[in-house]
């Protein structure tokens, strides 16, 4: 009897790491537990259009929360044009100034001002998703490869768009292939260049996904050790480690948002000016 209870407890106590990271058709909320019916889980509506599953999942909801948070804070900070920033606006401005003066303008030149709204939005969107994922009961939308794929796709489209806008449709695709190459080599070169083109968004997508997932798995593994080894003494070691990784995750949240933006900038710049 006692053994059964312990086994059941152990089964309950197993930390579902992958389940925590994966998308799900419900959101978890604290204190929502109507007589154990919901068990803290609120189901989300499923939706299907033209044969595509457009269900509102947990990551969609989190993404929306992040977006609303971002929009509300940004509008509060910058709704009115002000010369002297204060409070929140100062914080955002420092980041925007850094991105503008250290990343976008040095890479793209004056041309970069056109892409600045896109790149800034990209950075803050990813940043907010990253940081929101660190809050308990939340989820990391950017730790889902489909979300990062969507963002990488946006970046990819802007990249191609910049290339076509600056070089013309034919000029852009011609610029992908180095000039002065013997025609025989083109048989190899064309597929290579196409792969090279597609690898860019793929790299963006996988890098962000892997980084965000990795950190969360690490935190969960450290905490999971407590239940796996079934001893609360493990917490003495594993909780500080988890906290340390949590701190690291905050930093990584910034760094990955920055890296995504930086690489997008570089890719867009390369597409716009293929000659250098």
């Amino acid at each position: 009897m006692a053994g059964d209870t312990q086994a059941a407890d152990a089964a309950n106590a197993q930390v579902d790491i992958i389940g925590h990271i994966l998308d799900s058709p419900y959101i978890e909320l604290p204190f929502v537990d109507f007589h154990h019916l919901l068990a803290g889980k609120v189901s989300l509506p499923s939706l299907e259009l033209f044969g595509i599953d457009l269900s509102i999942t947990r990551h969609v909801v989190i993404m929306w929360v992040a977006s609303i948070l971002l929009i509300v804070l940004m509008l509060r900070a910058f709704r009115k044009p002000r010369t002297v920033p204060s409070g929140l606006a100062n914080f955002f401005e420092a980041i925007v100034l850094f991105l503008r003066d250290e990343v976008v303008l040095p890479i793209m030149g004056e041309d970069g001002k056109k892409y600045l709204p896109f790149l800034l939005t990209l950075f803050f969107f990813i940043l907010f998703c990253n940081l929101l994922g660190l809050i308990p009961y939340s989820a990391t939308a950017t730790g889902n490869i489909n979300v990062t794929a969507g963002l990488a796709l946006c970046s990819f489209l802007v990249m191609i768009g910049a290339g076509i806008a600056n070089n013309g449709l034919f000029g852009y695709f011609k610029s992908l292939i180095p000039s002065g190459v013997p025609p025989v080599l083109l048989i190899i070169l064309i597929p290579v260049e196409i792969i090279g083109l597609l690898v860019k968004p793929f790299a963006l997508c996988v890098r962000l996904f892997a980084n965000m997932t990795g950190g969360h798995v690490a935190i969960l593994v450290f905490l999971g050790l407590i239940s796996i080894l079934q001893s609360e003494w493990i917490a003495i070691g594993s909780v500080p480690f988890a906290v340390a990784i949590y701190m690291l995750e905050i930093f990584i949240g910034f760094v990955q948002a920055f890296v995504f933006t930086l690489l997008s900038t570089v890719f867009i710049s390369m597409a716009a000016h293929p000659d250098h």
Partner: protein, 163 residues
């Protein structure tokens, strides 16, 4: 499971991102970027203005220094000129005074000479007169004496023409 493709989520991501992009592009970024540009412009303007003011101040300072030096030089020149003029005036006055003194001395000398001459003539006239009177008296007394007449003639002849 981690890598399961899910087209719906990709679409939702793109939609969400585009909405955020639209809202921020419309309401936040223009203000922010314009404020940054404006502040930068203001600061660079202020720096340029300060630089210009500094240059102007330097120019003015240089001018003033030049003016001061010129004024100094002029003052020195004026003093030198005045000194020279003073020396000239003194020279003139002294020489004039000397000339005047010389002239006065000469005048005095001539006047003394003429007075003396007049005095001598007067004396001579007076003496002659006295002599004549004396002679008259003598003649009155002993004119008849031929020998006395000879004495008077001798006396008169003995008086020098001038002394």
């Amino acid at each position: 499971m981690l890598l399961d493709p899910h087209a719906g989520l990709i679409i939702w991501t793109i939609i969400t991102f585009l909405v955020v992009l639209f809202v921020l592009k419309k309401f936040a970024w223009p203000h922010l970027l314009a404020a940054l540009d404006e502040r930068e412009k203001r600061i660079s303007d202020a720096i340029a203005a300060a630089e210009q003011a500094r240059q102007e101040a330097e120019e003015v300072l240089r001018e003033h220094r030049q003016k001061l030096a010129a004024a100094d030089e002029e003052a020195r020149q004026v003093v030198a000129e005045a000194r020279e003029a003073g020396a000239n005036v003194r020279q003139t006055i002294v020489s004039q005074a000397r000339e005047e003194a010389e002239r006065m001395l000469d005048q005095a000398r001539t006047s003394i000479e003429s007075e003396k001459r007049a005095a001598i003539a007067e004396l001579r006239r007076e003496t002659a007169h006295l002599a004549v009177q004396a002679a008259g008296a003598l003649i009155d007394a002993n004119l008849d004496d031929e020998k006395n007449r000879g004495l008077v003639d001798d006396f008169i002849a003995r008086i020098p023409e001038s002394n």
